[in-house]
Amino acid sequence: MTERTPLLELRDVNTYYGQIHILQGVNLRVFEGEFVALLGGNACGKSTTLKTAVGLVTPKSGSVLIDGVEVTKEKPGERIRRGIAVVPENRRLFGPMTVMENLQIGAYTRSHVPKEDYDYVFDLFPKVAERRNQLAGTLSGGEQQMVAVARALMSKPKLLLMDEPSMGLSPLLVEQSFELIDDLHRQGVSMLVVEQNANMALSVADRGYVLQTGRVVLEGPAADLAQDAELRKAYLGR
């Protein structure tokens, strides 16, 4: 069997903030159609992994590949054009701009955006359609989360990188937001999702990685990770 090309691959990535060595030889792959969870405690480098993938930070050594193409030196815009998009930690909507403008910024890397692409996210999130002329900063937490996902979808990504989508949401909304992510995954969008809520993430993921102080200490099928006693102790809190 020939090896498939991963949609996203980090090869032996070492990322620094100044002198501080954050990612220490991270290897990670996401294949087409997969739902991959990226787990780990506070400050272990989960967000840095996503930032390295999209190009907000550049690794000191190692490479980032999208669809088999080395993109380590490419700017984020070029990488996004290759089919990845980020829903950043804390959503980071442009608060003084309208919901519609936030979506337009999500589509920034595309020269032409047909109206159907807006209709697609409006169908997915009727709430977002309703609020399209409202300033993003005035939305509720749940609505902001929807806009953040909708904004990322505007670049038509094959792979969505989500950083703690459940953060700051009520338990009910966390549930709903995971259902939605799961739906998107079923519709063919591959997923790399960072989560503190490991149980929830592993219940929908195919595979998972566990980071500890910038290294991958565990990886495997989600079901196995969910059973793993060590992981339970260390990260699931029981």
Binding site: V54, G77, I80, M97, E101, I105, Y108
Partner: protein, 305 residues
């Protein structure tokens, strides 16, 4: 009443010029949180570019082209030249310092300011230039409202300034570039994660801000203000005061601040003492910083989460 009206007209005319300068400060500050202290020198260069374009086209007496075309070309050259110069300044004097301390680019800007003044001295000489507006525009014509007369240059300057402001407003609010500028202003990292190229956006911001300064330079030349290498010092300070008065970072604020400063200056000059003119801007700047640092339309600083 007639005298008041005349002063008001003067104020609005100069206000348009100040507003264009103020917009440059506010655009660059909004996007980069950086005060381009060399901004006044781009206005000065614009005035020179306009002057030499006028001379090259045969001058007013033997103009090779119709007057309207000549004035149009003067604006195009001054705005284009200003934009290119502004982009060069950003590229070589500010960008290398973007990730260093906040003070470093400010000091660099002071250096650029002195550099451009001396470059102008070297290239254009120490002679003060005056546009020959009176020779190609009949300053006695124009329109009258009651007994207040507005001459054609004044009308042109006000209309030109308003058109440029409308264009800027459309650009910022209705185009992809404008959205990118606002996004970078709000949250640079989030903008990058959406694929926005910050360097490119900053280049355009400098081009637009400096182009507006160039246009303001030509306008002041046409209004018969003397053109020399130091003209940008006071004009820059006034534009900056206007931007702070309106709320630095706010585009409507810069427009409002420019007109308010122009009108206040004209009324004080007209009723109190003409020598106070240049002092008004400083007074306003100090009062605003003391009483309401965020200016009239500025947002209060929001702490980042």
């Amino acid at each position: 009443m007639e005298y008041f009206g005349e002063q008001l007209v003067n104020g609005v005319v100069m206000g348009g010029v100040y507003a264009l300068i103020a917009l440059g400060y506010t655009l660059i500050y909004g996007v980069l949180q950086f005060l381009n202290l060399a901004h006044g020198e781009l206005y000065m260069m614009g005035a020179f570019f306009g002057f030499f374009t006028m001379t090259a086209l045969g001058g007013p007496s033997a103009s090779a082209v119709p007057v309207a075309v000549m004035i149009g070309i003067m604006f195009i050259v001054a705005m284009g030249g200003g934009a290119l110069l502004g982009v060069a300044v950003e590229r070589f004097a500010y960008r290398p310092l973007r990730n260093s301390s906040r003070l470093a680019p400010l000091i660099s800007a002071l250096g650029v300011s002195l550099f451009l003044q001396n470059a102008a001295l070297l290239l254009f000489g120490a002679r003060v230039r005056l546009y020959d507006t009176g020779q190609f525009i009949d300053l006695r014509s124009g329109i009258s409202i009651g007994r207040i007369r507005i001459d054609p240059t004044e009308m042109m300057v006000v209309i030109g300034a308003l058109l440029l402001m409308a264009g800027l407003w459309l650009m910022v609010n209705r185009t992809r570039l404008g959205r990118a500028m606002r996004a970078v202003a709000v949250d640079q990292d989030a903008a990058v994660m959406n694929g926005i190229d910050v360097d490119r956006t900053v280049v355009w911001t400098f081009a637009i801000a400096s182009g507006l300064a160039g246009a303001a330079g030509v306008m002041s030349g046409l209004l018969l203000y003397p053109v020399d290498q130091y003209m940008g010092v006071f004009a820059g300070l006034k534009g900056f005061s206007a931007a702070v008065l309106g709320g630095i970072g706010s585009i409507p604020g810069a427009m409002l601040g420019g007109f308010l400063l122009g009108i206040t200056e004209a009324l004080v000059t007209g009723y109190l003492n003409p020598t106070y003119a240049d002092f008004i801007a400083f007074l306003i700047l100090i009062l605003v910083l003391l009483i309401r640092p965020r200016g009239i339309l500025g947002r209060p600083a929001i702490a980042k989460v």
